[in-house]
């Protein structure tokens, strides 16, 4: 893949990837963008190792997912809970009530449930793709999704 083709791939994939990372980072756009950038660089450096066993976007999400959990481990805390940073990236997202609603709803879930429900509903990924991204088997993905749906429904009903 040439650099121009990779740039096109970045243009296509940056929005869903950054949105996913933004949501798993609890709205921290600075960390989300840092992780997204790292994921794209890793993907670029390892283009030769992509064997085509899945969609390229799935492969990118897998890299980003690993980068996110590497980042969580490095920081020694749950990045997604650190809401201290100012959410003011120049090209990112309208930080409004809706976003707060979404993040407070997502806080009701465990990390795997949150990841699975975001990939399924927000990024329209199939169960198989979610399994490839997270490394969980398909039944585990379905189970997390079912529990996440129940928790979210209860939360939204009580709002």
């Amino acid at each position: 893949m040439s650099r121009e083709e990779f740039n096109t791939f970045v243009t296509q994939q940056q929005e869903p990837l950054r949105r996913f990372l933004l949501n798993v980072c609890g709205g921290d756009s600075y960390i989300a963008d840092e992780i997204a950038e790292e994921a794209f660089v890793r993907a670029y450096l390892n283009l030769n190792s992509f064997r085509g066993g899945c969609k390229m976007s799935t492969w990118l999400f897998r890299i980003a997912y690993n980068c996110f959990y590497d980042s969580v481990r490095k920081r020694g805390r749950e990045v997604e809970l650190g809401a201290a940073r100012d959410i003011a990236s120049e090209d990112l997202v309208q930080c409004n009530e809706r976003q707060e609603e979404l993040h407070s709803a997502l806080k009701q879930l465990t990390a795997p449930q949150r990841d699975v429900i975001l990939l399924f509903y927000m990024e329209d990924k199939q169960i198989r793709e979610i399994s490839q991204i997270t490394g969980m088997n398909e039944n585990t993905v379905k189970s997390h999704l079912r529990r996440a749906k129940q928790t979210m429904k209860t939360y939204l009903t009580n709002l």
């Binding site: 794209f40 670029y44 190792s49 090209d91 997202v93 809706r98 976003q99 927000m122 429904k153 939204l156």
Partner: protein, 100 residues
């Protein structure tokens, strides 16, 4: 509210201009991706296969040339010449035998 509807209404749109230019700058400063080990192996295998094919071709050429040479020798009466030379060879050995 249905979950699909909740996620649809809460889906953020993200402008990528700033991000893309930052990433492009970083990629410009990043060395070109190195060839993976798997790719190096596959190229090496391909080269060895080519060498094997060349060696096989050479062996076939040598074999056919030998067969052609043998056939020419046969048809040109090479064996007949050898057989007809036998008495002379026998006489030669007979002549040198008394010396021992």
């Amino acid at each position: 509210m249905q979950l699909e509807e909740f996620f649809d209404t809460h889906r953020q749109s993200i402008d990528g201009t700033g991000f893309e230019s930052r990433l492009a700058n970083r990629l410009d400063a990043t060395p070109r991706p190195e060839e993976s080990l798997a790719e190096t192996y596959s190229k090496l295998e391909e080269r060895l296969e080519t060498q094997d094919r060349v060696a096989l071709g050479q062996r076939l050429v040598v074999f056919f040339c030998s067969m052609a040479g043998f056939a020419a020798f046969l048809f040109a009466g090479g064996y007949a010449a050898i057989v007809s030379a036998f008495p002379a060879i026998a006489n030669f050995f007979a002549a040198i035998r008394p010396a021992f």
